[in-house]
C-alpha cells in the first residue's frame, strides 16, 4: 500500500454524500470518483487526504439524460460510456470521437467525465469539450446548489471554482444543431498519453460561410479555452486551407504557452498551430 492512511466513506444517497463531504472537507476530505487521477497522486503521496468520500455507490448520479436542449451527465458516468454515441446528432458523435483519445481502455472504464472536470488537468479532453461547447456545472453541497459556467469553472492547472465541500453532481452540455460540423485533433508522444496540445472546433455553415465558430485549445495553457482570435479568422469565411491556416496561426499567437523541461513556449505554439489546423481539416 503506497498511500498514507485514510478513511473511506461509502454513502448511498446524495444527501448522505453531501453531509459526509461537508463533515470531512475541513480535514482534507476528498471525493473519490473513478480514482484514475486521485489514486496515482495518493500513491506518490503528493496528496494525503485523511478521508475519501467514495461516490461510486451513490444513487442518482449515473444518468446520461437529454431534454432536447441539453445533455446531462451525472457524476458516476465513466469515459467509456461515450465510446458509442450517447445521443443522436453531432454532439453524440463528437463525444464518441473525443472519448477514444482519453488515456487507455482500462482507465476509460473507471475514470468519470465529472472527475476529469473536477481534476482540471490542462490537457483533459473533457475539460476542452466543456470549455469549447460552454458546459454548465451543477454543483451541490449541504449549503445548496450552484450552477457554474465552464468559463468560470476552470481557474488554472488542477484548480477549479469548486469549494472543498462541493460535489460536481452533473455537467450539462448544450446539444449541437444538426448541421454543426466538428473537428478534433490532439498531439501526444505516445498513444494514450496526456495531450501536449489539443483542439476542438465546431461551426455551422451559412450560405457556404463559417458561422458560430468555436475554436477551443487544450493542453497549451493552464486551462482549456476558446480562442476568439482564431474564431474571428473563420467566421464569415468559406472553410478552406487559407482560412484554416490563418485561424491556426491566430491561435498559436494568442496562447500564453505552458512550458516544461522538454517543451519550450515556441514548441507549444508550434503544436497549437498544428492541432488547430488539423482539427479544422478534420471538420470537413
Amino acid at each position: 500500500m503506497k498511500p498514507a492512511a485514510f478513511i473511506r466513506h461509502v454513502p448511498k444517497t446524495l444527501d448522505e454524500a453531501l453531509k459526509v463531504l461537508s463533515d470531512v472537507a475541513p480535514d482534507d476530505g476528498r471525493v473519490l470518483a473513478g480514482g484514475q487521477s486521485l489514486v496515482p497522486i495518493m500513491a506518490f503521496r503528493l496528496a494525503k487526504p485523511a478521508h475519501l468520500v467514495d461516490i461510486n455507490e451513490v444513487e442518482g448520479l449515473q444518468h446520461i439524460a437529454c431534454d432536447g436542449k441539453t445533455l446531462s451527465i451525472g457524476a458516476r458516468v465513466r469515459h467509456a460510456a461515450f465510446h458509442k454515441p450517447v445521443v443522436d446528432g453531432p454532439l453524440g458523435a463528437l463525444l464518441s470521437y473525443v472519448a477514444r483519445h482519453i488515456a487507455h481502455y482500462p482507465i476509460r472504464m473507471r475514470g468519470t467525465f465529472c472527475g476529469s472536470l473536477a481534476h482540471a488537468d490542462p490537457s483533459s479532453e473533457w475539460c476542452l469539450v466543456s470549455a469549447t461547447l460552454g458546459a454548465t456545472m451543477v454543483v451541490k453541497s449541504t449549503r445548496g446548489e450552484r450552477r457554474i459556467a465552464a468559463a468560470d469553472f476552470f481557474e488554472g492547472i488542477m484548480s477549479t471554482a469548486l469549494a472543498e465541500d462541493e460535489l460536481l453532481a452533473e455537467v450539462r452540455l448544450p446539444l449541437l444543431a444538426a448541421d454543426t460540423k466538428f473537428g478534433f485533433y490532439e498531439f501526444s508522444r505516445r498513444a494514450g498519453d496526456f495531450a501536449m496540445a489539443s483542439s476542438l472546433v465546431t461551426y455551422r455553415l451559412a450560405g457556404g460561410k463559417i458561422a458560430d465558430a468555436r475554436v477551443g485549445v487544450g493542453g497549451a495553457e493552464p486551462s482549456p479555452r476558446r480562442i476568439a482570435e482564431a474564431e474571428a479568422a473563420l467566421n464569415g469565411n468559406a472553410p478552406g486551407e487559407d482560412h484554416f491556416r490563418a485561424a491556426a496561426a491566430a491561435a498559436a499567437d494568442a496562447v500564453e504557452p505552458l512550458e516544461d523541461h522538454q517543451t519550450t513556449g515556441e514548441y507549444r505554439r508550434d503544436l497549437v498551430r498544428a492541432v488547430v489546423h488539423r482539427a479544422l481539416e478534420h471538420s470537413i
Binding site: 500500500m1 503506497k2 498514507a4 492512511a5 506518490f44 503521496r45 498531439f187 508522444r189 505516445r190 498513444a191 494514450g192 498519453d193 496526456f194 523541461h261 522538454q262 517543451t263 519550450t264 515556441e266 514548441y267 508550434d270 503544436l271 498551430r273 498544428a274 489546423h277
Partner: protein, 791 residues
C-alpha cells in the same frame, strides 16, 4: 512476420521453434517472484532528496527502528576495482556516510512490520543535509575548478583510456576529407518490468542467511555480499527466483541487498523490500549518458582511413560492481571502429563522476551509442562525397576474415556485407526512393536509415581479462544428471530471466542424448543448487552455458552408450540413442534411458567396476568469444509541423550463427529493437540543474508501448560459427544496438531537404522541431542577407 528457416542441420530439436518450457507457469500466474515472499519485517529506504551535500543529522520518531550509516560498523564499502586505465577506486557506503552524492542515495532504512508501516515511517525520517552545488553534466564536471565529488578521483575522472595506432598521424594528414560528428546520447533507465526486490531470511538452526533477489548474477552477489559483511560464503545462499527482466540493471551489486542481509543477521529474522517504479527510475542504475566527438578521415574514394574519438561518459556518483564504471567508456573505446575496415585509430575515453545516479550496464552497453555515432558519421560522409549511404558501407565494411581491428580485436568471421545486401534486397530501395520523392512533393517527409554493426558475444575470461577487472568473468559450468527415474536435469551457473534458456538448453541436450526436451529441467538461480557461474548478461548464456551443456551432454551420452553396451551386450559404436532409448542399430534390441538410469544407480554391482556409479557429468566452457552482426533498416515518416516520428517499417537482417530456437531468437531481437526505439525516440531521464529527476514516473519517462512499435521484419542468415561448439552466437543485445542508428539516420534522410542534422538521442519531437525552426530561421536570414547584398 519473420522467416524461420532452419537449414537442414540434421538435428532434431535444435533449430525448431518449440514453445518455451518456462511459459505455462508465467502465463498462468504461477511464476514466483521475490515480492511474493512473506516477511516479518519490511523496509523502505529513505533516500537523499538532494544531489550533493553533507549530512548533519538524521532524525526520526523515538522508538522507531531506523538504521543509519552509524549502525553499520564494520561493513565495508562497495569498491569495485580495475587494474588499468588510470582507474581510481572510489568506495560507496551501504548508507550514505557523511556525504550524499546523488538524489536517491540511501541515507537511512525504515524498518517496520508491514510495507505500509515502513512507508509511513520513512515519511517521518528527516535527513538534515547541508547542500552544496551539484555537478549533473559530465562536461561541467570536467571543467577547471569543478567541485571534487570523490577525493580519490582528481578532476572527477575515474578512468581514462587512451590509444593511438602508430601510423595514425601520417594517415590523418594525408586524408582527402575529414567528416565529423558531435553525438550526444542522453540518459536511460533499463526499466525492467519488475523493479528491484530483495528478501533476506535467517535460518535459526544453521545461522545461514538466504537472500532472494531479482539479480542476473546470484553467485557473484553471494561472493560480494559475503566479502562486504565479512561472512563465510557458505553462510549465505542467494536465490534469483523468476526475475522479470534485468537488461543489465540487475547485474550490478546494489547497496540495498547488502543492507537486507545485514538486517536479517541483526534481527535474526526475515526482512523484505520491494522497490517502486519511482524509486527504480531515480535510484536504480542508469546508463548511456555520453558525449562522443568522432571524426573520420577518408581518402578521395570515400574509403575510411582513420577514426579519432573523444568519449566522455557520465558514470554517475559511484562505480558499479563488478564491471566498474569502465563498462561504458571502455566498451566505446574498444569497439568504436565497429564493422568497418579502418586500421588507424585514436581515442580518448573518460569516465566522469557526477552527482547523478550510478551508471551500469544496459543491454548493448555503449554500442547503441557508438553505433549511432559511427553510423551517423558514415551517412554524413556519404553526403559529403555525394554517394549513397549503402555504397559507402559497401566500400568500407570488412569483407575478409579473420580481421584484426585497430584495437587488436580479432573478428573471427562476420557477414557484414551479406546482411547489408540481404536488407537492401528486401527493402527495394529504388521503389522507396520513388515513393519518398512523390511524398515530398505532397509535403510529407519519409526517410530510410541503415545501421550495420557487430555485436561481440559469448566472450570468455581472456576477453574480460583484457579489461583488467579485479573480477574477471567468463566461463560457465553445467552439471547434467539423468536421475534414477530417467528424467534429466541440468544445473547451470547462468541465471536466465526471460531469455528462454530452460528451453534452448533442453533442445541442445535433447539432441545429444536422444530424449524430448520436456523431460529436461534446467535448474538455475540458486547458489545452493546451481554450480558457481557468472549469471546471464552480455549475450553470453546460450554460447557459454550452451557450450558447457553440450560438453556435459556429450559425456552423458558416452556414459549412456557404455551402459547400453553393457545391458544390450553390443559394441557402443553399434548403439544409437533416440526417442528415449538406446537401440542396437538395425535390430529391435532396445533399452530405455529410464532403465539404464535405474541400472546406473541401483545395479552398479553389475558394472564390475568398469562403469562409475551414477549418471551425472559436468562440462565447463570458456570460449574465445565471437561477433554476431546485423543490418537494421528503418523507414520513418517525420511530421515536420510537430516533429513526430512514425516508424513505418523496421527490418533486421542478422547473423548469429546457428539459431537454436527461431521463435526465441526473434523474441530477443524484437525486445531489443523495442528498447532501441525507446532509446532513439522516447526514453530520457532528465535531471534539473539542482540534480533532481524530472522523469520519475512512466508518464514522463516514456518507454514505447505496443502502439509505438512497428512490425519488425526479421531475416536470419545463420552462418554456423567456428568459435562456438554449438555453432551459435549470442544475439541478446543486437536489437537494441542497431535500432537507434537506423531510426535517427532515417529521420535525417527524411529531413534532408531542410539541411538539418539530428545527432542527439532520443530524437524527440521537441528536438526535431527545434532543429527545423533553426534551419528555417537561418535560411530566412541567409535569404534576407542575400537580398541585402543585391539591393
Amino acid at each position: 512476420m519473420s522467416t524461420h528457416e532452419t537449414k537442414g542441420s540434421g538435428l532434431k530439436w535444435v533449430g525448431r521453434a518449440i514453445r518455451r518450457l518456462e511459459d505455462p507457469a508465467l502465463v498462468t500466474g504461477q511464476g514466483r517472484f521475490t515480492a511474493d515472499l512473506p516477511a516479518t519485517h519490511w523496509v523502505r529506504f529513505v533516500r537523499s532528496p538532494v544531489a550533493a551535500g553533507t549530512i548533519k543529522s538524521v532524525s526520526f520518531p523515538d522508538g522507531a527502528r531506523v538504521i543509519t550509516a552509524a549502525d553499520l560498523t564494520g561493513v565495508k564499502k562497495i569498491t569495485p576495482m580495475l587494474h588499468k586505465f588510470s582507474y581510481r577506486p572510489v568506495g560507496q557506503s551501504i548508507l550514505a556516510d557523511g556525504q550524499v552524492r546523488y538524489v536517491g542515495e540511501p541515507v537511512a532504512i525504515a524498518v517496520a512490520s508491514s510495507e505500509e508501516d515502513a512507508e509511513d515511517l520513512a515519511d517521518l525520517v528527516e535527513a538534515d543535509i547541508d547542500e552544496t552545488p551539484p555537478l549533473v553534466d559530465a562536461r561541467a564536471a570536467l571543467a577547471d575548478g569543478a567541485p571534487q565529488i570523490h577525493a580519490e578521483a582528481p578532476g572527477n575522472v575515474i578512468l581514462e583510456g587512451k590509444v593511438q595506432t602508430p601510423g595514425f598521424d601520417s594517415v590523418w594528414d594525408r586524408a582527402a576529407k575529414i567528416v565529423a560528428i558531435e553525438a550526444r546520447s542522453h540518459r536511460q533507465n533499463a526499466t525492467p518490468m519488475e523493479a528491484r526486490a530483495g528478501h533476506a531470511s535467517y535460518d535459526p538452526s544453521t545461522g545461514r542467511i538466504t537472500l532472494t533477489c531479482t539479480t542476473q548474477m546470484p553467485h557473484l552477489m553471494r561472493t560480494a555480499i559475503a566479502d562486504l559483511l565479512g561472512m563465510r560464503e557458505s553462510d549465505l545462499r542467494v536465490i534469483a527466483p523468476d526475475v522479470g527482466g534485468g537488461f543489465g540493471q540487475k547485474m550490478s551489486l546494489c547497496a540495498e541487498y547488502v543492507a537486507l542481509v545485514w538486517l536479517a543477521r541483526k534481527l535474526k529474522s526475515s526482512v523484505a523490500w520491494t522497490e517502486d517504479r519511482r524509486e527504480n527510475l531515480i535510484a536504480s542504475f542508469h546508463s548511456r549518458d555520453q558525449y562522443i566527438s568522432l571524426e573520420g578521415a577518408f581518402d578521395q574514394d570515400s574509403k575510411l582511413l582513420a577514426l579519432r574519438a573523444d568519449v566522455v561518459s557520465n558514470v554517475g556518483a559511484y562505480s558499479c560492481f563488478p564491471t566498474t564504471s569502465g563498462v561504458e567508456p571502455l566498451m566505446a573505446m574498444a569497439e568504436m571502429p565497429g564493422p568497418y575496415d579502418v586500421q588507424q585509430y585514436q581515442c580518448l575515453a573518460r569516465g566522469v563522476l557526477t552527482n547523478t545516479c550510478t551508471m551500469a550496464a544496459y543491454r548493448g552497453v555503449s554500442r547503441p551509442v557508438i553505433t549511432f555515432t559511427l553510423e551517423r558519421l558514415m551517412d554524413k560522409a556519404a553526403t559529403a562525397f555525394g554517394i549513397d549511404p549503402i555504397d559507402i558501407r559497401r566500400r568500407n565494411l570488412i569483407g575478409t576474415f579473420p580481421y584484426t581491428s585497430a584495437m587488436g580485436l580479432v573478428y573471427d568471421e562476420a557477414t557484414y556485407k551479406e546482411t547489408l545486401e540481404m536488407a537492401v534486397a528486401a527493402i527495394d530501395v529504388p521503389a522507396f526512393r520513388a515513393r519518398q520523392q512523390a511524398a515530398r512533393a505532397r509535403g510529407q517527409y519519409l526517410g530510410i536509415g541503415f545501421a550495420t554493426f557487430s555485436e561481440r558475444t559469448g566472450y570468455g575470461s581472456p576477453a574480460f581479462a583484457a579489461r583488467g577487472m579485479a573480477i574477471t568473468p567468463g566461463w560457465e559450468t553445467v552439471h547434467l544428471t539423468v536421475d534414477p527415474s530417467g528424467f534429466v536435469e541440468a544445473r547451470i551457473g547462468s541465471s536466465p530471466h526471460g531469455q528462454g534458456l530452460r528451453t534452448t538448453l533442453a533442445q541442445i541436450i535433447a539432441d545429444e542424448i536422444g530424449v524430448a526436451p520436456d523431460i529436461i529441467k534446467v535448474i538455475h538461480g540458486d547458489t545452493d543448487t546451481a554450480p558457481y557461474g557468472w549469471g546471464t548478461f552480455a549475450s553470453r548464456s546460450l554460447v557459454i552455458s550452451g557450450g558447457a551443456t553440450l560438453l556435459a551432454a556429450r559425456k552423458v551420452r558416452a556414459k549412456l552408450l557404455k551402459i547400453a553396451s553393457h545391458m544390450l551386450e553390443a559394441a557402443p559404436e553399434d548403439i544409437v540413442l533416440e526417442n528415449g532409448s538406446a537401440k542396437v542399430a538395425g535390430t529391435d534390441r532396445t533399452v530405455t534411458i529410464a532403465a539404464m538410469a535405474r541400472e546406473a544407480y541401483t545395479q552398479t554391482h553389475r558394472f564390475k567396476g568398469e562403469i562409475e556409479p551414477g549418471l551425472t557429468e559436468s562440462g565447463t566452457y570458456d570460449p574465445p568469444g565471437t561477433f554476431s552482426n546485423a543490418c537494421h533498416v528503418a523507414i520513418v515518416a517525420v511530421d515536420i509541423e510537430t516533429g513526430f516520428v512514425r516508424i513505418e517499417r523496421f527490418l533486421v537482417a542478422e547473423d548469429a550463427g546457428r539459431i537454436i530456437n527461431p521463435m526465441i531468437a526473434d523474441g530477443q531481437v524484437h525486445g531489443g529493437v523495442a528498447q532501441g526505439i525507446g532509446n532513439a525516440l522516447l526514453e530520457e531521464i532528465v535531471y534539473d540543474e539542482s540534480g533532481g529527476i524530472l522523469t520519475a514516473n512512466l508518464a514522463d519517462y516514456m518507454p514505447p508501448t505496443a502502439h509505438e512499435m512497428p512490425p519488425i521484419e526479421l531475416h536470419h542468415l545463420e552462418t554456423p560459427s567456428t568459435q562456438s561448439i554449438t555453432k551459435a552466437k549470442g544475439l541478446g543485445e543486437g536489437g537494441s544496438i542497431g535500432a537507434p542508428a537506423a531510426v535517427v539516420n532515417a529521420i535525417n534522410d527524411a529531413l534532408a531537404p531542410f539541411n538539418v542534422q539530428i545527432d542527439e538521442i532520443p530524437a524527440t519531437p521537441q528536438r526535431i522541431r527545434a532543429a527545423l525552426r533553426d534551419a528555417t530561421n537561418s535560411a530566412r536570414s541567409r535569404e534576407s542577407g542575400n537580398l541585402g547584398a543585391t539591393l
